[in-house]
Symmetry: C2
Subunit: 221 residues, 2 copies
């Protein structure tokens, strides 16, 4: 897993796009820093053309900002930005879960369980927040991808992506982390039972707890 997983198979096909995105997600490219096309091209080992395409995609996804004739820079998120993104997620993602859970296959549930266990293992070993973020994105991505509507899925992915990047490096307390892992386990249980409403409620809880853990209280907005 060299790139941030999205469960969309062609995403990692364009390696330039995937590599630039993983550099952003991992923090290797700091928020606000300028992305020089030639620099990225040299670092990745391709010409400027695929780099430019990657930057365009990332701009459309809200992960970089383009200034005409000036270049691209990694987006930065103010606390208010993060709070707003959590609000949007709190509105959308439970709904997506309600739609997707009844349609999940046994394989999907098994994948969710595996991802949940891997995240717990990472937490138990006590580290690698970047890897945790990637696993978490994959976990949440499954629900969105399976919501039964292709266009809704792509739209929600677009909402999710900046949220995932913004949240990747926030520090959670040990308690908040443990609680988050419990939510994942309960989501797996609800998914296994194909109980959409249960899963919806858990997901809403999960996101609101995360918003709080990220220090983005609703009253601050």
């Amino acid at each position: 897993m060299d790139t941030l997983p999205t469960a969309s198979p062609e995403a990692s096909g364009d390696s330039a796009y995937g590599q630039v995105r993983s550099m952003i997600a991992s923090g290797e490219l700091a928020a606000g820093s300028w992305l020089r096309e030639t620099t990225l091209a040299d670092r990745i080992g391709v010409s400027r053309t695929p780099i430019r395409e990657a930057l365009n995609r990332l701009a459309a996804e809200g992960l970089v900002e383009l200034s005409r004739n000036k270049g691209a820079q990694v987006v930065s998120f103010s606390p208010d930005d993060v709070a707003g993104l959590y609000d949007v997620r709190a509105g959308f993602e439970p709904h997506a879960v309600l739609l997707s859970v009844p349609q999940l296959t046994d394989d999907d549930v098994a994948e969710l369980a595996a991802l949940s266990e891997r995240m717990e293992a990472v937490v138990a070993e006590g580290g690698d927040l970047a890897g945790l973020g990637a696993l978490n994105a994959a976990f949440h991505g499954i629900f969105i991808e399976r919501c039964g509507n292709r266009h809704v899925a792509t739209a929600l992915q677009t909402v999710m992506r900046p949220a995932v990047v913004a949240h990747t490096f926030r520090r959670y307390s040990a308690e908040a982390l443990r609680r988050s892992m419990q939510h994942h386990a309960e989501l797996v249980a609800a998914a296994a039972a194909r109980d959409g409403e249960w899963a919806e409620a858990v997901m809403r809880t999960h996101i609101l707890a995360a918003r709080n853990a990220a220090g983005a209280h609703p009253s601050t907005r």
Copy 2:
């Protein structure tokens, strides 16, 4: 206003992107049809490079679908797709309105009023659904742009765009059209009064009525 308005100033800067998108929005490029890069390049009068960038952006926005080494085709929307998009809009757009209305300037309100009147004029003259769709997109776009959070705005715009395209060519009954215009007028009134909750309720009504008018009943899903 030669392109579909988005209130994002740089959008119409890249003319190739704007032109391809307006071709899609106007139906000049039919849903499901293949977009050949050389064909588009010749028609617009540029080389393949800006066309490719436009197609990448449009793909990220969910307006075209890319198949590796095979090209791009305009997305098509099944009735279920449309229903899902309306559901998503019903979920988020009222919330965006609630956030944005208290922050609107007098100029914003005046622009909303002007757009509402222009739409009524178009309906009174009895035609040009494509132009109506563009005006409608601009009207709704104002609320989203002013929601107070840049990233939320871009994410929600991405959710909106396919919905707008999918909805542009649906035929509404005269009664549904009239009702929709009344909703717009009431939204302007609520915005002028800076009453976010009122506007939120009107917007929810507006979208659910549109969903019904589009023949996308929630029970069909």
